[in-house]
């Protein structure tokens, strides 16, 4: 029972308390870019969730298998002879994420061309999306087990999707609102995102 409770805590804290977009401020480029229409927002959230979940799993494996090859010790390699490859962490993780994004790009191109053209330039941008890399690095920092990292990834993706779809809803309402000329488009979107993130600050108290 204790394990499940811990998992639920991880998901909630990743999705709401330190929501990746509105509290940690990661993954803002697609957040602003993709929130014009709700359909594209949902498409993007699905893609990001897919990438984040898989990335959490793959990076955990890469970390344990390649970057901290402790299992080599079992094969008689002296503990200090094991090469220290921690500095490769960033590049290895980025490679994993990039490959996954390329995979998702092909998947979407085949199954749903209209969504593919709607996502457009923002699909490759998931690779440099700080949220995805952020999740993966946090998984490593807090020494999560494989299952915990997976759920942290899913939780973070959930948080990302909530923020994105919520914001897309707000922006669609903004189009009809009577906004002074210079504020039309991105400025008003940014200001409402600021207010939205102030609202999300309230979650800080949840597990402060």
């Amino acid at each position: 029972m204790e394990g499940v409770q811990n998992i639920v805590m991880i998901v909630i804290s990743a999705a709401l308390v330190n929501n990746f977009v509105l509290s940690r401020f990661l993954g803002i480029c697609p957040f602003l870019g993709m929130s014009k229409k709700i359909e594209t927002a949902i498409g993007m959230s699905a893609a990001v969730t897919f990438v984040m979940a898989l990335a959490s799993v793959f990076t955990w494996i890469v970390q344990k298998l390649l970057l901290q090859p402790l299992w080599l010790v079992k094969f008689g390699v002296a503990a200090d002879k094991v090469p220290d490859l921690m500095y490769l962490q960033t590049i290895a993780f980025i490679l994993v994420i990039a490959a996954l994004v390329q995979f998702v790009e092909m998947l979407i191109q085949k199954t749903n061309p209209s969504l593919y053209s709607a996502l457009g330039v923002y699909l490759p941008l998931i690779t440099t999306n700080c949220a995805v890399l952020g999740v993966v690095l946090i998984n490593m920092q807090s020494e999560f087990t494989l299952v915990e990292s997976l759920f942290n990834g899913v939780g973070a993706a959930l948080g990302f999707s909530i923020a994105l779809i919520l914001f897309a809803g707000v922006r669609e309402r903004l189009d009809d609102a009577d906004i002074p000329k210079p504020f039309k488009g991105f400025p008003i979107a940014l200001i409402s995102a600021g207010l939205l993130s102030i609202a999300f600050m309230a979650f800080q108290g949840l597990a402060g």
């Binding site: 480029c29 960033t90 000329k181 400025p187």
Partner: protein, 196 residues
């Protein structure tokens, strides 16, 4: 291939922060003080120029199906190499810029420029584009950083500007302030460009 146009394009017409709204993560996270802004801008420019050059050199070699992984791996290697060399041989510079270098890997501008420009143009043009974009990025975030630092902390480049009576609006240093400050600046720019 009018180089002047490419260079200015990065600063005004297609300013990464104000027009394309890219590189938001470092922009919002780092611009709490003007010195941070400049530091981040310069580090990003250096990496942007370097990676644009490398990618435009090897663009023929990379098949279309694996363009994203190859580009990003080149960028990540470039960033890690720069970080290691700086940490080892130029510690003073690393002291001020060191914090920003890992942030650059996740900076959307670099991959976007690589994919949109460097993978389609000759190396020299890519360098100019990298410089233009980098400078545009530096100017934009330094402006944003000074506004946020002035309002949120009452100082500018660390020097106390506002009188002691000034109660700094802390929200501007916090991240929601980043959104609002950037929104206001964009609105101001629209107003100005709408005038001419």
């Amino acid at each position: 291939m009018n180089y002047r146009k490419i260079f200015l394009n990065g600063i005004t017409k297609e300013n990464p922060v104000f027009r394309l709204l890219l590189g938001m993560c470092p922009t919002l996270a780092v611009t709490t003080s003007a010195t941070n802004g400049i530091g981040m801008g310069l580090a990003a420019t250096f990496v942007l120029v370097g990676s644009n050059l490398v990618i435009s050199l090897i663009k023929g070699f990379i098949p279309e199906k694996i363009r994203i992984p190859s580009f990003i791996v080149v960028i990540a290697t470039f960033v890690t190499v720069v970080q290691l060399i700086m940490q080892a041989f130029i510690p003073s510079l690393y002291e001020s810029l060191g914090l920003f270098i890992p942030l650059i890997v996740v900076n959307c501008i670099i991959l976007q420029r690589a994919e949109a420009f460097a993978s389609k143009n000759k190396p020299f043009a890519s360098i100019i584009d990298g410089l233009g974009m980098g400078l545009g990025f530096t100017l934009a975030i330094t402006l944003l950083a000074s506004v946020r630092e002035l309002i949120g902390n009452g100082t500018l480049f660390g020097l106390q500007i506002m009188g002691a009576a000034y109660q700094p609006a802390l929200i501007f240093i916090l991240a929601p302030g980043g959104f609002i400050a950037l929104g206001l600046i964009l609105a101001l720019l629209n107003l100005v460009s709408a005038k001419e």
